[in-house]
């Protein structure tokens, strides 16, 4: 099976408000696939659906050949052991040290002896360049470092699928470059599949093998980063070249300025 994750005809919404409509996506094994789009386009929702934290209204999600079903808790928890997720702000446990944060999934899911666990955690921290910060608390490290610790925690069990939720948001250029390199290198070193949700065009295009563009819950474009850069699709053009106006309007939809100022323009 060439795809680790497959999404078919997926519909999801909150009440009457649709968030995702008729999605069909493939995430091939060993690749880094970026899911891009503006705020509120439904990118993070896709990750939560793949992780089984949300239940789709219809459609199917398969991970490693298994259907994701939030109702079947035991099967879902077993499936999640094959996944790692990097949350937007790291979601580190603030009462634990950096070391204990990375050790957490190992302690929960394995019976490794302390010496081996210690070495494994240090190796994971070495991979993200934070071995010497092992005894610090999350409050003592920067946002970029917290993101790297969370990455070390996400790969602690060597998952086949790693999901990244806005890994570049709020980072300085150096941290952004470091994080992008880590994502690419870890993907190769672990032989895993990565799903990268981001709106950062430059960094995402540098490391992604394939890109999906999402707008209002639908896929509006897809292809390699090179194809996306050449795309004439108005939405992709506006997004990639950061144009202030276009299919995504500058002004919040509603009445015109003339109407608001009472200048007699018919509604």
């Amino acid at each position: 099976m060439p795809n680790l994750v497959e999404i078919r005809d997926l519909h999801f919404g909150y009440g009457d408000r649709p968030v995702l409509s008729g999605l069909r996506m493939d995430f091939p094994r060993g690749k880094v696939v970026a899911v891009m789009g503006g705020s509120g386009s439904g990118k993070t929702t896709i990750l939560r659906l793949i992780g089984g934290q949300l239940q789709a209204q219809s459609g199917q999600i398969r991970v490693d050949g298994q259907t994701v079903n939030p109702q079947e808790t035991t099967a879902l928890y077993l499936l999640r052991r094959k996944m790692g997720m990097l949350f937007q702000h790291g979601a580190l446990f603030t009462d634990l040290t950096v070391f204990e944060n990375v050790a957490f999934p190992l302690r929960e899911h394995t019976d490794l002896p302390d010496e081996l666990l210690h070495d494994l955690v240090l190796m994971k921290l070495q991979a993200v360049g934070l071995r010497n910060a092992a005894q610090l608390k999350p409050s003592q490290i920067s946002g970029g470092m917290a993101r790297r610790v969370a990455l070390a925690r996400a790969i602690a069990l060597d998952p086949g699928l790693i999901m990244y939720d806005e890994p570049f948001a709020g980072l300085d250029p150096i941290s952004m470059g470091v994080t992008a390199n880590l994502i690419r290198n870890l993907n190769q070193a672990l032989g895993s599949t990565s799903i990268l949700v981001s709106h950062d065009v430059h960094e995402s295009f540098l490391i992604a093998d394939y890109v999906y563009f999402l707008s209002q819950g639908m896929i509006v474009a897809q292809g390699t980063p090179a194809e996306m850069l050449e795309s004439t699709d108005p939405y992709v053009k506006q997004f990639v070249h950061a144009e202030p106006d276009g299919p995504v309007p500058f002004h919040y939809p509603g009445k015109s300025l003339a109407q608001d100022l009472g200048l007699g323009v018919p509604s």
Binding site: G51, F87, P105, E108
Partner: protein, 260 residues
């Protein structure tokens, strides 16, 4: 106009029943999630230390002052009837039957309950619970259940400490300061306090208060809106709902336990 009122009342009733049902469902889910805890008792003992230890000072100091006041007020009242020898009995019964369990539970709601709600609410807001779920770790089992049982175990112990310190406070004021006969103070207490009827019923009360207060605190944190405002509201709700629940439960339990 009247139709709108009836509709609003109907919505409120439906919502309240739905909320109670959801809370009951969560309570049973919590009990189910507690199944494997005996294999990881360390999680519970850590929380007993955290919850119990941090509530200890306020419980002990409050117990001492309640004992002082009981000693004073009891003496004034009993002295009118020449029965000040019964001061020890009055202090002990008031504390073991009522004030120990109730005041401890109210203080516990304000000290440990708010702390639990804020901790769980902030863990939710910081996506720590979601991260745990994604690591295939059930937060109900790993985070909520140990705190729940720690609260349930800590409450009777804290209530016992409250009562013991309160009796000592009554002794200090009644015997050492006012001069009530020491032998009468202790012998009346020993003769009049029943181990089952008074002390065991007080322990049962505080155990049930422990279940109510700790569950309310954890539930409010778990269901809090994951925003600073949401956590603040949940913390306030914990104090209000837990306090009312304790007072209501106390009335019901007192009616059932001391009905002769």
């Amino acid at each position: 106009m009247i139709v709108n009122w009836i509709a609003a009342l109907g919505r409120w009733v439906r919502q309240t029943i739905s909320d109670i049902g959801f809370a009951a469902n969560s309570f049973f889910a919590l009990l189910r999630a507690s199944g494997g805890l005996w294999r990881r008792l360390r999680l519970v003992t850590d929380q007993i230390h955290f919850i119990g230890n941090y509530s200890l000072v306020i419980i002990a100091v409050s117990g001492l002052f309640v004992g002082f006041v009981l000693g004073l007020q009891g003496y004034y009242t009993l002295n009118k009837y020449g029965s000040e020898q019964a001061l020890g009995l009055l202090v002990a019964l008031s504390l073991t039957r009522e004030l120990g369990p109730v005041v401890t539970a109210l203080l516990f709601a304000g000290r440990a309950g708010t702390s639990l709600t804020a901790e769980i609410g902030l863990m939710k807001a910081g996506e720590q619970l979601a991260a745990m779920e994604m690591m295939a770790v059930n937060p109900l089992q790993r985070v909520i259940a140990p705190r729940f049982w720690a609260g349930v175990i800590a409450m009777p112990v804290l209530a016992a400490i409250f009562s013991a310190v309160g009796v000592f406070g009554g002794y200090v004021v009644g015997v050492l300061l006012i001069g009530v006969d020491e032998g009468a103070f202790w012998s009346q207490m020993q003769a009049g306090v029943d181990i089952w009827k008074d002390i065991a019923n007080g322990v049962i009360k505080s155990f049930l208060f422990g279940i109510a207060v700790t569950f309310i605190a954890l539930y409010q944190g778990y269901e809090a809106q994951p925003t600073p405002e949401g956590v603040a509201r949940a913390t306030t709700r914990t104090v209000v709902i837990a306090s009312l629940a304790v007072l209501w439960l106390d009335f019901v339990l007192t009616a059932l336990m001391f009905n002769k």
